[in-house]
Symmetry: C2
DNA sequence: TCGACAAATGTTAGCGCTAACATTCAAGTT
DNA sequence: AACTTGAATGTTAGCGCTAACATTTGTCGA
């Protein structure tokens, strides 16, 4: 910075002013400084700036299972929105979602002096761990349920599940079976709740949900069990990957979809329209989730303290062949 | 830090020594300092440390289309490996892969003073942009071809493609059609090369490859065109997503797989085993790609300068029903 | 012509840390 | 007892920047 100042015959402070768009700099001076910066290839030292301003310009994101379509898309949305807001994103992905591992991740991010943290950690237990954050660092929990004192963003799982269940009933099914996600996932429980509520409202039999792990193989296993029964008219599977496995099992067992059984998934992954048959599902707009997360986070960062805020992103039913007779 | 020093009646320098595992500290002193750090909840200021050491402890990752399975998995592998090595990861994802956007991303990362950069940017043109980096910042290009003066890691696309083509020929196909990825993707071209080489070696007819965009819909379009021909015995599709679209098109057209046509993909996404029929494909070990990338990068960081190094990760043929008659 | 005032620029201090050198102290050596 | 030696700790300076205050310069009205 001193070099630049010397080159234009001004003080380093004026260079600093140009860098920070301070208004009290003559336009001509500003131009000269800019030129000198360019010529000398000067790059401001972000550590020095962070040291004195006490702002790192960084937000941290903790993800879990970030190779899945949902988390990956959310992360992408977050990153875009953060960048637009002038922040950089530091990621910390977890292989296991336990109190210890989440705490360790929070620690690592705290060490980096992130200004805020977004946690994509959809397990029920994490809320308690994060509650410790309330009051300390601005934070937003994605798909993690409401945490007192923190922001939270989630897709409206319950109404999405109700809608798809309603749809299957409307297509003539006496009741709808459910292949659920792992019981400790908030999203999985939200979908179970919506599905059950809708069945109850319709006065339909509520069978106990089958449990899967989100993976195609667990959907396949569930599919084999359901294919063995003769009383299954419709199945709502908690995500598209498992639905794929289930379709496979049905296919092998000679159960025709939608001929014998109606099937619907959840997520609307890009592949869903090309399954055999194309899958009716519920679209989650992960980009919006990411964007809203950053909005809620930056609100807190600007306010200088954590705030309890809640955003719900709607889910949209996408009807395809698997539920169309 | 001064507070901690005061609490234990030592100088701040001793605290600093404890923090940095300097050997010349009495074990008992070390323990006392650690305790005081704990009690006071002291957190070292990373900006101040970075300022004086001139090391940020950060590596930057530039990704493109990070919601795809491959890039997302690679990013995940990179992040894990970087963390194990004591680095934090800052991401910058691109929506378009142009010289301008890559340069902008490099600029943003440079401003953060990252110690090294990994670019997951598989377009042919990016190599030239990155060449400008050679000699400046340690960098590794993933699936971007070799760049003089930089590290590069890639999966052995060509031999993977040869292997799967060979496999289809071995199963009795007179020749193998190819649905390729976009022409400006290095990986797409590698697969075309391998496929063509193997056909030539076998003396088989080389049909002009159909071009897709990696998306299921483009695979579907290609599938419709191929289904209209009567001389198609086997198709090698450049990725699993497009293969899914192609299978769908074949299914609709009444073309049976593997009965009438053999089909194989590339990537081995988790869903591939549950396609209808389960898809023969080529597995890319993205976790290894990520790990090797960090290894190559840190080698350069340690050396204090960019180095030209090259790592190739093998690809593995996974045979499933779509190519088994 | 001169002060009053605002605009533009300059000077100084300090953010929290580590590197480099300085000092202390105990244990051995002569 | 004085003297070396090395381990353990202390002191000082400075990394590159911005905040706060200080100074200079230019403009205008009386």
């Amino acid at each position: 910075m001193a070099d630049v100042a010397r080159a234009v015959g001004l003080s380093h402070q004026t260079v600093s002013r140009v860098l920070n768009d301070h208004p009290l700099v003559r336009p001509e001076t500003r131009a000269r400084v800019r030129q000198a910066i360019e010529d000398l290839g000067y790059r401001p030292n972000s550590a020095a700036r962070a040291l004195v301003t006490r702002r790192s310009g960084t937000v941290g994101v903790i993800t879990f299972n970030s190779t899945l379509y949902g988390p990956a898309s959310t992360l992408f949305g977050i990153e875009q929105a953060a960048r637009d807001a002038g922040f950089v994103v530091s990621i910390d992905s977890l292989t296991a979602l336990t109190a210890t591992s989440v705490r360790a991740a929070l620690d690592r991010l705290a060490k980096q002096a992130v200004e805020g943290i977004i946690v994509i950690a959809p397990l029920s237990g994490t809320a308690e761990v994060l509650a410790a954050l309330a009051g300390e660092v601005p934070a937003v929990v994605v798909e993690g349920g409401a945490v007192p004192g923190l922001g939270s963003v989630s897709v409206d799982q319950e109404s999405g599940a109700r809608r798809v269940t309603r749809h299957l009933l409307d297509r003539g099914a006496a009741t709808v079976w459910h292949v659920a996600g792992p019981g400790d996932w908030i999203e999985a429980e939200g979908r179970v709740l919506g599905w059950r509520a809708e069945l109850r409202a319709a006065g339909a039999t509520v069978h106990r949900p089958l449990r899967g792990t989100w993976s195609p193989s667990s959907g396949y296993a569930a599919g084999r069990r359901l294919a063995a029964r003769s009383d299954v008219e419709a199945v709502f599977v908690a995500n598209d990957q498992m639905a794929l496995g289930l379709l496979r099992a049905f296919h092998e067992a000679g159960v025709r979809v939608p001929g014998d059984v109606l099937v619907a998934g959840f997520d609307d992954v890009p592949e869903a329209a090309y399954f055999t048959p194309p899958l009716t599902t519920v679209r989650q707009d992960f980009t919006t989730v990411g964007r809203r997360s950053i909005e809620l986070l930056l609100e807190q960062v600007t306010a200088g303290r954590p705030l309890e805020r809640r955003a719900v992103v709607p889910a949209e039913l996408v009807v395809r062949q698997s539920s169309t007779r």
